[in-house]
Subunit: 331 residues, 2 copies
Amino acid sequence: MPNLAITYPDIITASQRINGHAVVTPLIESALLNQRLGGRILFKAENLQRTGSFKFRGAFNKVCKLYDQGLFNAEFNGVVAYSSGNHAQGVAAAAKHFGIAATIIMPADAPQIKISNTKALGATVVLYDRNNEDRAAIGKQLADDHKLTLIPPYDDADIIAGQGTLGLEAAHQLEALNLRPDLAISPIGGGGLISGIATALKNHFPHIKIWGAEPQNYDDACRSLVADQRLANEPAPASICDAIVTPIVGELTFPIMQHYLAGAKAVRQESVLQAMMCCMQDLKLIVEPGGCVGLAAILASQLEVRDKITLVILSGGNADPAMLTRALRAS
Amino acid sequence: MPNLAITYPDIITASQRINGHAVVTPLIESALLNQRLGGRILFKAENLQRTGSFKFRGAFNKVCKLYDQGLFNAEFNGVVAYSSGNHAQGVAAAAKHFGIAATIIMPADAPQIKISNTKALGATVVLYDRNNEDRAAIGKQLADDHKLTLIPPYDDADIIAGQGTLGLEAAHQLEALNLRPDLAISPIGGGGLISGIATALKNHFPHIKIWGAEPQNYDDACRSLVADQRLANEPAPASICDAIVTPIVGELTFPIMQHYLAGAKAVRQESVLQAMMCCMQDLKLIVEPGGCVGLAAILASQLEVRDKITLVILSGGNADPAMLTRALRAS
């Protein structure tokens, strides 16, 4: 076994930290959707998590660990993070819980709901131009100038272990239903979520096949897994899946993905809009574009679920009214 | 104590019947919404119930009792029900579970999602003209002609007890959180839901104040409670709240409502659309117009929730895309 950034016990430790603070999100299924797809699909509705996405788990685990280490002393100036909006809210909510200051760097064109909710959680929001500025560089500058502690979005062992609690929780829920899933599919951005949940799921269900899903034109994980090396995304037209558009999968997350994943699927924008509609009509859930790419792959027949038990991660629900209207019109 | 159609033990019996068949729907809250409203609001997300509304509970309890009584013999020809669409799906799903035939009488202008899902559940759907035909008369005729067993929408002890399991479940969930609610608010149509949950909630929380909510122009419960006698709705323009537009509260449900309720609030259509939007943006839930009238009353300041713990019943989520688009545009 290669030397990976986290192992199963790290997720157990993270789950002890977040227990009672994060929502135990429900596993949801639709008899009619199962009937249409000819298999049993269980959706982990992480759009119902605090702050509307799984990002609260990793952020809380990270910030809680800093607290446990006694770092929130007189010299502590707060945390800083960069994010298209979900990690932003996760970090803001965790910082608020511990009474520390949070500065969040967000693209000026992030969904309005993400910007306003991050502010409502008490964070200082710094907007940047996604096309001409480098968020990591701005983050480093702010951290250096104001002695802030950076909370990375994905390439960090505590963040990965925190996101992994979603997989642990789903495993316990499936076991309580006496179900052993054949397949799981989850969105991939930088890979923090999928590498965390893969670590948990493979421990509970060694034979499960775990797939990632990402937007067309931003299929760095797909290509990297095939090439067995990290390949960056080429410049491409903007994607509606803002939550999972990242330049390249992480240095820490990629070896975990290589070790556990069956592969990744790149989904078309039309399939994503169709998946959003399916969530609204069949599951009664609002899921943002980047949150339902796994379901998009299934609806587009990119993953065969017939006669199988499949776990689908719906990772977030922070979509603006205009995007929801677009999905409702598309079908 | 007056002689009421059901008491608390009937709900316990119903919960034993539906246990393992109905979804244990989550209690959901939003930190940001709580912050805005200055109180703690817990939403019982019954839109996530099988068939997309609470109606499965009562229908399953009723049909299961017929089964327990050994009535599904060679002479049994199936069940019939009339419904604007949620009771329809509940009865269809329960009938499918027990392998019996279901005939459902629905208005031709019911939401498309309700008609198509009822058909997909294997029921025979008979459409009627809501403005010129009497659904109860059609139901009786079909029952007589084909020897079908009528499953009434609300004015029936087994239906009321089944819907009451929603209140029982919410009470257990609140107790697990160590919360004692000050207030509860639930939609009222014929009164089956609210009389069931009031029976359960008042048993667990004797001091809780329980309010009903109904659409403007269809405020028969409001007026009946004030007048201390059942008053029918006058003819009025169509309401978007199709699920809870009923001619008059039930003979069995009204005495229960009189015994337990603090009163009822009639909400404006604009408030209902605003509540649907709030569900989508803050809770990440699709709730149909008739399902979120309780939240509508709160958003319109018709119920004071500041510094209180309030249980809000979101009773269903079967809304067509056009209605969702309308709610997204309204704000």
